[in-house]
Symmetry: D3
Subunit: 147 residues, 6 copies
């Protein structure tokens, strides 16, 4: 096969893991309301998860390198800009950048996307998937991309 005349976008995904504690709680709600909304996720000392974060960058690969971006570099960005902040931490207490944010999976994936948006090259579209348990996960593609 000759190399195709036209090449479209490829999605490249890198998966990393971290372990953290969190408690779902909104201080604007009463204790009863928090309990009703978040159930056992509202218990005062929190609980934890082995989170799985997968970052997918999307672009036409560079013809010379055959890569969208170096996956070693993508791995390093996820470690430096996400895992260093949250791994083996209590997300409600130990992460200044999460102060005032109720660490639901939805809120976390939005925040992680923005942390990465500052360092992933602007020419790349990207999304972030966050798996909280084997049954629960979320995905975010930024404020302007429909899913």
């Amino acid at each position: 096969m000759k190399w195709p005349n036209e090449v479209g976008e490829v999605a490249l995904s890198r998966r990393e893991t971290f372990s953290a504690s969190h408690r779902l709680h909104n201080p604007n709600f009463s204790d009863e309301e928090n309990h009703r909304l978040y159930g056992k996720c509202n218990r005062i000392n929190g609980h934890g998860h082995n989170y799985v974060i997968t970052v997918t960058v999307i672009a036409i690969p560079d013809q010379e390198t055959g890569m969208i971006m170096n996956i070693t570099e993508l791995k390093a960005l996820i470690h430096e800009y996400v895992l260093e902040k949250v791994d083996h931490k209590h997300l409600n207490f130990d992460v200044p950048e999460l102060e005032g944010i109720n660490p639901t999976a939805e809120n976390l994936v939005i925040v992680f996307w923005h942390w990465l948006a500052e360092v992933i090259p602007h020419s790349l579209k990207f999304d972030v998937e966050l798996i909280e348990t084997e049954n629960n996960s979320v995905k975010y593609s930024g404020p302007h991309k429909s899913i």
Copy 2:
């Protein structure tokens, strides 16, 4: 990080499992045609699978709760409107709502989507993935959404 000025849609997924039997068979076809089309899936007493159903709801999260919808509620909807009907059943004989429907993976995922469309809030887009075996799966987003 301050909370972003603008927030887009987040996808929230819940995974559940059920075990069921089925037989692929279309009574409008001859036995030979059924056998040719469906092979060993056409054997008369059926066979079975551990199905995995993942429902993904898509919306901008509520700012107060930090959630698209309560995943406990999503889990309850999947149990009440899908699993209660099909878990530990023979899909060709034991499920009145499937009467007359040949239980291919494609047909099942369409039907399950419609069962859920009656109870998932109309403000949410959603899709359903159905894994039949570790090698075979289908996904459906409703009649009006291109995949």
Copy 3:
């Protein structure tokens, strides 16, 4: 490193999958007793699973080939002596060799072990693991080996 002077037993495992229906039912029990014992697994038309069978053979590897047995041959034995009989079948109706046997996971793994005992070389110890769902599994090493 020189090759060690003494080599002990190595365990070699091969994993295969099949899909089947079954119904848990003992005709010696009343309907009430069957229902009480087996719950939804007793429903009359049965339900199904994607079974995973892993066969492990144990021996000192042959020095010339570096193998316990050829894993291609082990795969072939599992296909011929187990999967051919049970894949895409209803275990209560379609498998003459299972006639009169209540297809609980425990009973199945015992029977599969005996089917394989007739063809796996007698110089090899072996055990069979049978995974019924991601949460339920059984393992059997034959009548004379303690687990």
Copy 4:
């Protein structure tokens, strides 16, 4: 095949999951020693995991029921005697039965085994596996069984 004249022990396993926080810390050690030993697992507010617990009971199956024990009952015992105590809890603060115990994986699996030893029938041998992350796990078979 006729049913074999002689049947040996079968191992029956049930898998459950829970999410919890913990902090590795021994109050008899200095802060420096705790940090040196436990590293990031010693951080003061703890972190968390999605633990997977698998309980395996071992016995010759009952000939009438074809079961070692009813796996529904085994599931209920794990829920009542382990998960009710630890799920969505901080293991250092929220579980009276763990008071004074440093929640390393090794210590947890020993304690869980003893909780279950009080309720699993004495005629059954059993072991407990506890998976802390996809890379770390422990297994315990009680004080008298060599692994």
Copy 5:
């Protein structure tokens, strides 16, 4: 439930696996540049992976058969047009159709998509996912479809 009046596209996925060696190397670059770009993936004799390829075809299912295409046929196409060429091969030396192509994951998924585009019916949209390791994967939908 009656069958819905209107049915949209369903995505049907088939997963297959193969094992192969590769070396990342661009002969237009210096050795230093190759080493800097590809790191340990540039080592001269190559290394290998258990690749997982998942092909997803997308269309409105046929009303008579209840299928998009026969998944047995899809499996056969993947085997004949991809796995036969690459399974248990060294991708840099043993595959004439890959001659001159640096076997990065991005380049491989583009090539595999084109191999399949020649044989998958033109009425079907399709994409190809290629998993290189449990942490690295790529996806391609062809030159004209945005991801």
Copy 6:
């Protein structure tokens, strides 16, 4: 619960991964014999796998630390004494310590066990599991322990 009076052995497992190429070939055999024995695994340029190595150490945990050994140290030993030698290598050409050894899974797991036996504390029993593909794996406990 008070801490039990008597504590038995706990098994602690650490899982790591590496990617490598290999070719099954015994120079003492003819080409025909090699081909007959090893099939497509005998192709001249080799193929590759994502290997998964799990090392399990077994002992009574230390009462003070609550650990068998520090899992961080176990991870470091696996990296230094196994992965550094074999990751991203061609096992037939690039690893001096494997010279003259036909890299079947059985031979590899024996060799890896011996590499680790030199550095894992002698008070610990241990075994090594090596997963070659999702369907094939081996396990070794050393020359003197029956499996």
